[in-house]
Amino acid sequence: MFLTVIDENAGFEAVSVELTLRQTKIRHLQLKDMVCVDPETSLGETIATMQRRRNGCALVAAGSNLVGIFTERDLIRKVVGRDQAGLERPIRDLMTPEPAVLSPDDSLLDAVRLMNRGGYRHIPLVDSANRVCDCLSVINIVDYLLECYPQEVFSLPPTPGQNFSEPDGA
């Protein structure tokens, strides 16, 4: 009886990934601390904060309400190489206003679809009152999916073609 159960596991697996994505809510993920700044913060200060916190994305919030997002891409597009782009300008003028958002109660599948459709790498998470909760990054999703396959992905040697002459620890 048990033998058949083991064999069926293989088929069960393919469903489970999609099911997990559907059922897992974004709030179940462990997310990095977000960087959140006021709309009146200067560009220089925002960049310094992003550098200090090693984060490529800053949420812009007035009080606790999300008004925009400032990412590496905004920096490349609107700041670097422009002479008149002073570091004193408020971040409000340079951010991307009204970004696409999700709620922490949305599923991971929603996030995957939204990111894929819009080409976003970061999605701010807000609650029903538009209060900022967190920021979901594309790498969080990839990480989560790969954690379903530790044996296949994480037990690899660091580079392809790296062979060990004898078993480790033997």
């Binding site: 048990f2 033998l3 083991i6 596991n9 293989a10 088929g11 697996e13 393919a14 469903v15 990934v17 999609e18 994505l21 560009l43 220089g44 960049i47 310094a48 992003m50 550098q51 090693r54 490529g56 590496e72 891409r73 920096l75 490349i76 597009r77 670097v80 190489g81 002479d83 782009a85 002073g86 570091l87 599948l109 995957v112 679809r113 990111m115 894929n116 080409g119 790498r121 594309v138 790498i139 999703i141 990839v142 990480d143 999916l145 790969l146 396959y149 044996q151 296949e152 992905v153 994480f154 690899l156 660091p158 580079t159 392809p160």
Partner: protein, 177 residues
């Protein structure tokens, strides 16, 4: 090793259960039968459809490189010298290392800001190496090189697209069951 069939305890490394003779060897091998797991085991980096890389010389100014990032709408440029990849310059490098320095983009050279000696892959390798590097090292772009091809790039967006595709492929007939 506890036998999954009869529950009796065996010595670690045993080939079969001493009580019910269930062979254990099969249990350790990842079962790549269908779905995402099968694709992870069998697909190569070429299945991620690496895009031709935008390249720049190490002596070019960061301003030129940033202009390339903007014009081509890409997240990184490869720094190539005599057809060899010597570095990679991504949006993140510009943010972290150039950041708030005003008007400096034209005077700073690419090789001062780039990440030197990036990890490169070949298109015939398993897709799992790319996923591994991205997840463990946090890279968002990995150069794909070969002898007879100009360098190409795999980005995290391609990975997301790939994962999304395999999930959508798997779902319709699953849902109808």
């Amino acid at each position: 090793m506890i036998c999954p069939a009869c529950g009796s305890v065996n010595l670690p490394g045993a080939d079969r259960c001493e009580d019910c003779l269930l062979p254990f060897s099969k249990l350790d091998i990842p079962l790549a039968t269908e779905g995402l797991q099968k694709r992870l085991m069998e697909d190569t980096i070429a299945d991620l459809k690496p895009q031709p890389a935008v390249t720049v010389a190490p002596e070019a100014s960061v301003e030129e490189a940033v202009q390339l990032l903007k014009d081509k709408s890409v997240g990184c440029v490869l720094v190539v010298e005599e057809e060899i990849v010597v570095g990679i310059l991504s949006e993140r490098d510009v943010l972290y290392k150039l950041g708030g320095m005003e008007g400096s983009a034209s005077s700073v050279k690419v090789f001062e800001v780039m990440t030197p000696h990036p990890v490169t892959m070949e298109a015939e390798e398993s897709i799992r190496f790319v996923l591994h590097q991205m997840s463990v090292e946090g890279f968002r772009h990995i150069p794909v090189v070969s002898f007879d091809h100009p360098p190409r790039i795999v980005s995290v967006r391609a990975v997301l697209n790939y994962l999304h595709q395999s999930i959508e492929d798997a779902s319709p007939e699953r849902a109808s069951r």
